[in-house]
Point group: C2
Chain length 632, copies 2
């Protein structure tokens, strides 16, 4: 078959593909991420690219205007390669490391500014410990072998009975010990009753040892790089999970893994993590070789896919995860480009859908250490909810879809520069908005959309049923086939000459997302016969976290009726928990107890959930009383 070169701009990366390959596939092979919510079905219109040179073929689509088509704009997933091509990837389609907007987007997920170790009450005591060792050189009277000499020194210093050495390190021990003059720095991974030496260096000029905590979200992947010796966070970054090209939510990802195998999904997210690690190690001046420990938190499906394990049973009754508590692995075995002996530990999950991200969130919130009756809501594409305190915990998981992360929305965009992140309606009914980076608007992101729905509802433009009100006098509202479209920004004002609108489908997506979260909370509280008013603390976790306007969230019925002063934002709880798991053995012991003792409520098999979900599909809810006035 004929092959053609496809050159992607602005990165300049070229890849050769067979005639007829879609541009989306070509980009995937070139390692270029293109936004694609529908998984390549030609329905979301997110994978717009511009053909600068060459011939493509594609079926007709309503998602592109005649003007756009004339300008060479195409859907990458529906256009196939039929000549040498030069393809320009617009900012809103690409996930370019270099874009300023990316940095802004990431800020939400990476908890920047929290540089020193914050154990939330736990001591700094990383499982991978850096030990300075001074060994007695061998003599004729004491000619024990090198391995024994090293192991004894580690045993003496740690009190651990059984010390082993990473296999690939074994051949280098005789050389390192002598090169070092018997003064070495050893990195020891400490388990319960045993330890493994995973790195050994001459103590002189020993480089700093890095550790990496990863939050593998369905939509966003976030990473912290820390100094294992001090616990200081050296750098942080986030990017979008490239698996999105194979489906926006976990169910679609599972289906993709069944149809096309686990490998492409595993490779996608491993690539994302590796790219972030490369970026961070450059930023912090720590070689990838010197990163010795990685911890990861994610929901059951994300962790299974990351480890290359089929998640297929998770979506089938009785909803069994392949593994809730993965054993300690080598990070290199999971495709991560760090030290070959670096260990990889995943925060243990609870069961079924409820994965290690929620255990991590519990760690980060301190819910498991407190006597206060608390609720933890992790707002993400996959929503996770926990109620309880140090004595008991009940958890559940529900699929909210990616609307909160600005994905799957007509003019939706991730939180890049130019994304509308704040929205209100002025007294005259005109939209007032703020964009990230104060750039010309190119789309609307999750927090902007939530604001907009709350404001449109407040203004009566949206009814309680979540439908646009045709009787409202605003001239920004139009109807097509009976479905409303609200224009936020006209094509003339927009940064990409396309109007920014909120369509009925977008409202529906957001309402479904908030309804899923709210229904999860309701079912959970009912299961323990608890009125929301009795909650003493509510923790909100997720990248969305700090940017959430509580008043508006209450207005649309996302959050239950609790007094605002009881609500705390813990930011990206999954990432913070993964970092605790990296830096504190105490936190690790707590995680094991949480995973082992928390009860899990399976919503897939729960009839109350569907009932609650239906009631929460209204704004704010069928039971308006609950959301009026102050709650105690």
């Amino acid at each position: 078959m004929k092959k053609y070169a496809v050159n992607f701009l602005p990165s300049g990366v070229t890849v050769a593909v067979e005639e007829g390959t879609t541009i989306l596939k070509a980009a995937e092979r070139a390692g270029i991420y293109l936004n694609s919510v529908c998984g390549g079905e030609g329905t979301c219109g997110k994978c717009r690219v511009k053909i600068v040179f060459g011939e493509t073929r594609q079926p007709p689509t309503e998602l592109l205007s005649a003007e756009e088509l004339a300008e060479g704009v195409r859907l990458a997933c529906r256009s196939s390669v039929h000549s040498y091509l030069t393809v320009e990837v617009p900012k809103e389609t690409a996930d370019l490391e270099t874009a300023r907007g990316q940095a802004e987007a990431c800020r939400r997920f990476r908890d920047h500014g929290e540089s020193d170790f914050n154990g939330v009450g736990r001591e700094f005591d990383p499982p991978v410990t850096i030990l300075p060792l001074s060994l007695p050189p061998p003599t004729l009277e004491d000619n024990r072998d090198d391995l024994d000499r090293l192991a004894r020194a580690v045993r003496r210093q740690t009190g651990i009975g059984e010390i082993t050495v990473a296999p690939t390190l074994l051949p280098r021990i005789p050389l390192i010990l002598r090169e070092a003059g018997w003064e070495v720095s050893a990195a020891v991974d400490r388990g319960e009753n045993r330890g493994e030496v995973i790195a050994l260096r001459p103590i002189k000029n020993a480089p700093p040892a890095g550790g990496v905590a990863v939050d593998i979200g369905t939509t966003t992947v976030a990473v912290h790089l820390v100094d294992l010796a001090s616990g200081k966070t050296l750098a942080s970054a986030a990017t979008y999970n490239s698996q999105i090209a194979r489906g926006e939510d976990v169910i679609k990802r599972i289906i993709s893994s069944e149809e096309e195998g686990v490998e492409p999904l595993a490779e996608a997210v491993r690539g994302d993590i590796n790219n972030l690690i490369i970026k961070l190690s450059r930023e912090a001046g720590i070689a990838a070789e010197d990163i010795l420990a990685v911890t990861a938190a994610g929901n059951s499906t994300m962790i299974a896919l990351f480890l290359g394990i089929t998640p297929r049973q998770i979506r089938r009754e009785p909803y069994v995860a392949p593994l809730a508590a993965p054993p300690t692995l080598r990070a290199a075995g999971a495709g991560l480009r760090v030290n070959e002996n670096a260990v990889l530990d995943c925060v243990p999950g609870i069961a079924g859908w409820v994965g290690g991200d929620i255990t991590a969130g519990i760690l980060a919130s301190g819910l498991n250490r407190s006597g206060e009756l608390s609720l933890l809501i992790d707002i993400g594409t996959n929503g996770e909810i926990v109620v309880g305190n140090r004595d008991w915990m009940l958890a559940c998981s529900c699929s909210a879809g990616p609307a909160f992360e600005g994905s799957g929305i007509t003019s939706g965009t991730r939180a890049v520069a130019g994304a509308i992140e704040r929205f209100s309606l002025g007294d005259g009914g005109d939209p007032l908005w703020e964009t990230i980076g104060h750039e010309p608007p190119i789309g609307i992101c999750g927090s902007g959309l939530l604001d907009a729905v709350a404001e449109l509802f407040r203004a009566g433009i949206l009814g309680r049923d979540g439908r646009f009100n045709p009787d409202h006098p605003t001239n920004r509202l139009a109807f097509e086939d009976g479905r409303g479209i609200f224009t936020v920004v006209g094509a003339g004002e927009s940064g990409n000459r396309r109007p920014i609108v909120i369509a009925q489908a977008d409202i529906d997506n957001l309402v479904r997302a908030k309804a899923a979260i709210y229904a999860g909370v309701s079912v959970l509280l009912k299961a323990v016969d608890l009125d929301p008013g009795r909650l003493e603390r509510v923790f909100i976790s997720g990248g969305f976290g700090r940017y959430l306007d509580i008043e508006r969230a209450r207005r649309i019925g996302l959050l239950p009726a609790v007094a605002p002063e009881k609500i705390s934002f813990i930011g990206n709880g999954s990432l913070r928990g993964a970092k605790l798991f990296l830096l504190s053995r105490q936190a690790r012991a707590e995680a094991a107890r949480i995973a082992g003792s928390a009860t899990y409520l399976e919503l897939s098999a729960n009839h109350n959930f569907m009932e609650e979900y239906g009631r929460a599909m209204f704004l704010p809810h069928t039971d308006v009383e609950k959301f009026d006035g102050n709650s105690n």
Copy 2:
């Protein structure tokens, strides 16, 4: 550079090499073993091949006659490739799997006929245990994850607290469990307080699980394949250690590893083991994939090289081994072609030169379990000696050279078909000999040489100083430059038209070998102030073992003065011990105790050794009294 194809007969293997490459190197690349004692220095004359077609270049050599040269016979190590070549490898040069002689040679090392488990008093209880498991299928009420379900079942059946799963097996668990209908056979590697599931199969039609015990000798590599479920030995084989091409003894191997790196030596012996495993797995009908455990015993240098670790410090004061007790490794990590999760355990050594082969020999002899004062002598290229009983043990190691294995000898050959293995002088002074397989004689192997020296000494053809007696009337003795040569078989009678002779240098080699062993024994006994007569048992170990004529060994001064009825042959103790290590956790615990408690006498730094060695360089010894008459 120009490349030429070299075709080796009779195997027919062809390899392309650059012009100027030696035939020895070409054979190495083709995976064909050629005998080469001197390590390619052109001095041993063992690597004779015949050029059937094509052009080679070589410097003049005295090792080949004009006749041989005319017939196309060349030294493979000195002849370089300068055209397409067809090279015939004679039986005595090659180590062909197909040669009948090979099977004969191997018999000495492989302890055939010992099919059922023989624990020498220990129970059958292999560390890698095959467990049939019946798991409860998940339900909505019990939807624990697959890994947990499996681990609990293993915990229940073994009582081990911590159960992990081999990383590469993790992704397959969900599929295997369901394919098996929750009825599986698990292979669990049991450590002290934890176990690792290394293989998992549907119980229906689960293939037998194989285990392999390896003795890595300096000259010979021997392997047993056993059924892990029953302990039955299914097949056995041995071959020569291909490292011989890089030097005949451990010192030369260490030097080679320093000059050319460890890798070629590691690859050589790994290749030998793999070839044997392939052979055995075919013979026994067990797929390599189903071999789940490997144990290896060898001296410190052999184990280091096998594991790819530099042994350089072993030959330097204070004689430190890189590792005496290697941790449990993956066999695949050491280049073995077995199941990717098969574990590799090496029998722990004592210190310095005294490696796991002697620990294994102690296990096999039962010396460590007996109250009787015992001596264990492992006769090999590297000789190892132990004295003691269940309460104490003292061990040493000495380099004897490969003469006992028929290597490094003018007409020496390994114990292939046609090798003279028995020798005596008839009443008329004429040599009487027997060859292996009753084939026409092609050379003399170790046991034949020992017989010959004893007989020549008895007949007065050799003097007490180990030199040929020019006054002896035999017409078989000739002198060249004052050094005697005794003709055993004339060129006319020989199987390869070359005379079979015993030169002064061969006598010297054998005398040095026996002197080293005897001196080791003497120093060891003196160190504990023990007269040989007080020994209650003497175990003789080594491939040579059962073929040794005690009377003649006594006559030349190889063995100390002990009553013949106290002497037992344990065959290849290293291999038998490795097999115990494979099949009995009790034996493994004993090995750890032996390695940890035996005392080690370093002969490299021992002046008494050199003195004893000098005295033992006579036949039988300077102190003849010791060897006359019966001893108690």
